[in-house]
């Protein structure tokens, strides 16, 4: 009997951020020590400049890891199977200068797991169809993304993130600049995914329509994790104005910005 079969089964976190400091060059913008368990729906909250986007980019290897480490399903970031994690970047619009259909956009999310040098096969086409279906854009698949509403564009980006077969979805401010009806539609999509077992990490200014899904809140402030726990236990102290301006180069985007964060957490 060898050692590995006798060792107790240690549950492996979907994403483990071990005392990691993330930033650009020498500038540290976020510090965290957290584990995202499989099946969690984690909201990363915080005002502008609090380091919440840097934290999720650090999880993805999109910013420098200045100290500590990141693991995906127990494997170091550099050796991780990238098809397990789908990323939905913060974007006002998914459109470049040249028209791109929903199908073309979503197919580009399948490339890395399929082998970017290979022609797409029937399995890839099925995965693309399924991703478009799950976000409710089947009727729009041949339309250019630029002609869709803001909310539909976000859902198209979610589908691209899912197309590679992701078990974890990381979304950076998907509700920003999207009207209430579209926010509700996106929340519906995420609910379906969460119920299907997808782990979700979502960067938000306010919980809004996502609140019923969220199992855990990680609140960032001034580049550090200030709270990590269930929604109901988020301390009221986090709702004060002084979280708006910090030393990390955040931009105050207008009076609505803080209000959203304040009202959002406990708005029922």
């Amino acid at each position: 009997m060898n050692a590995s079969s006798t060792a107790p089964a240690i549950p492996t976190a979907a994403i483990r951020v071990r005392d990691a400091r993330f930033g650009y060059g020498n500038h540290e913008a976020a510090h965290a020590d957290i584990a995202i368990e499989a099946g969690d729906v984690v909201a990363v909250l915080g005002p502008n400049g609090s380091g919440k986007s840097t934290l999720v980019k650090g999880m993805l290897g999109l910013v420098d890891v200045l100290a500590g480490s990141v693991e995906w399903f127990g494997r170091p970031l550099q050796m991780a199977d990238r098809s397990t994690i789908g990323y939905v970047p913060q974007r006002q619009s998914a459109a470049g200068p040249i028209p791109v259909t929903v199908e073309e956009l979503v197919r580009s999310g399948r490339l890395a797991s399929n082998g970017w040098w290979r022609r797409s096969r029937s399995g890839d086409r099925r995965a693309v169809d399924a991703a478009i279906e799950v976000v409710g854009l089947a009727g729009q698949r041949s339309r250019p993304v630029s002609r869709l509403s803001g909310g539909q564009q976000r859902r198209a980006l979610v589908a691209r993130g899912l197309a590679g077969g992701a078990r974890v979805l990381i979304l950076d401010e998907p509700l920003a600049g999207v009207d209430a009806a579209s926010q509700a539609a996106l929340a519906d999509t995420l609910r379906v995914l969460a119920e299907g077992g997808t782990t979700i990490v979502i960067v938000l200014h306010e919980l809004g329509p996502i609140q019923p899904l969220v199992t855990r809140v990680v609140a960032m402030s001034a580049g550090a994790v200030e709270f990590d726990g269930p929604v109901a236990e988020v301390p009221k102290a986090l709702l004060h104005d002084d979280h708006a301006d910090d030393a990390h180069g955040g931009f105050y985007e207008g009076p609505g910005d803080l209000g959203l964060f304040q009202g959002g957490l406990f708005r029922q």
């Binding site: 993805l60 290897g61 999109l62 990238r82 098809s83 994690i85 789908g86 990323y87 970047p89 998914a94 470049g96 200068p97 040249i98 028209p99 791109v100 259909t101 073309e104 956009l105 197919r107 580009s108 999310g109 490339l111 890395a112 797991s113 970017w116 040098w117 797409s120 041949s142 339309r143 250019p144 002609r147 691209r160 993130g161 590679g164």
Partner: protein, 286 residues
């Protein structure tokens, strides 16, 4: 042999018109077709990446290569190819560092390229007159060996942009997502940069290195006015590039104008007419 074979194929299609009576015109038309197809095939990715003018910069760098070739009196096109490829890789490495001085470093590279070319060519036995042919195109100078080089480069460009099209699209469309999903972004960007360098070189005889960027951008800009997908934009842009290059060369022969300028003005005219026609049809529909 290569040339006469192609001419015999092109002949029936275009009709027995006068331009085909001359060897140099047959070669020029074939060179025009090669650049007309290749430039938009590469350009569409540059436009989507919002780097539409990078071809212009590489053209500037290629000037040094041409001038070096003229000075040593040997293979200016091949020397320009090597110079442009080295320049393209250098540009990608500078861009990947993403530092504040990156843009200024690129400006130095581009203007250093053209300044070096102008200074070098003053030492060339043939003088500065020859350089003009490469800068703005000169159809009568296309030789059979040039055509062979252009054909090989165009074949490489069309094959790679087709084979790697989906990956080049993913990287051009959303660099950050591509990195997060694990695509080899840097190698793919270098492939695109090298293909851009090859396009610059194919353009030398017909359009010229200072005007080639127009053929990478304008047919793509025209095509996207009509299309609703990336795929159809690519094919339509290549069709527009093919047509304006071919018609431009014939036109330049009959009205006795430089081929490069004629082709580019024609491409811009097609874009302008398209915009006006679409605006007019939208107004009448109201």
């Amino acid at each position: 042999m290569n040339v006469s074979m192609t001419a015999s194929m092109a002949g029936p299609m275009i009709g027995a018109i006068e331009v085909l009576d001359y060897d140099f015109m047959r070669r020029a038309l074939l060179a025009a077709v090669l650049i007309g197809l290749s430039a938009p095939a590469v350009g569409i990715f540059l436009v989507q990446r919002r780097l539409a003018l990078i071809g212009d910069g590489l053209g500037h760098i290629a000037v040094s290569g041409v001038a070096l070739g003229l000075v040593v009196g040997h293979a200016p096109i091949l020397i320009a190819l090597v110079t442009a490829i080295v320049g393209a890789i250098t540009i990608e490495l500078i861009r990947a560092r993403g530092e504040a001085f990156g843009e200024i470093a690129l400006a130095m590279l581009f203007y250093g390229g053209i300044a070096g070319g102008v200074v070098l060519v003053s030492r060339a036995p043939s003088g500065t007159r020859n350089l003009n042919q490469y800068l703005f195109g000169s159809i009568t100078t296309t030789s059979a060996s040039d055509l062979l080089t252009f054909s090989i480069l165009a074949a490489v460009i069309l094959a790679l942009t087709t084979w790697l099209g989906p990956a080049l699209f993913a990287v051009s469309n959303d660099d950050e997502f591509a990195r997060a999903s694990g695509l080899p972004v840097m190698p793919l960007n270098i492939v695109l940069a090298v293909l851009t360098a090859c396009t610059v070189v194919i353009s030398m005889r017909v359009v010229g290195v200072l005007l080639v960027s127009a053929l990478m951008v304008v047919p793509v800009a025209t095509a996207q006015l009509w299309t609703s997908s990336f795929r159809t934009t690519r094919w339509l842009a290549m069709a527009v590039g093919f047509t304006v290059a071919l018609v431009g060369v014939v036109l330049s022969y009959y009205v006795d104008t430089p081929s490069g300028g004629t082709i580019v003005l024609l491409a811009i005219a097609v874009f302008g007419v398209t915009v006006i026609a679409q605006s007019a049809s939208r107004l009448t529909r109201r």
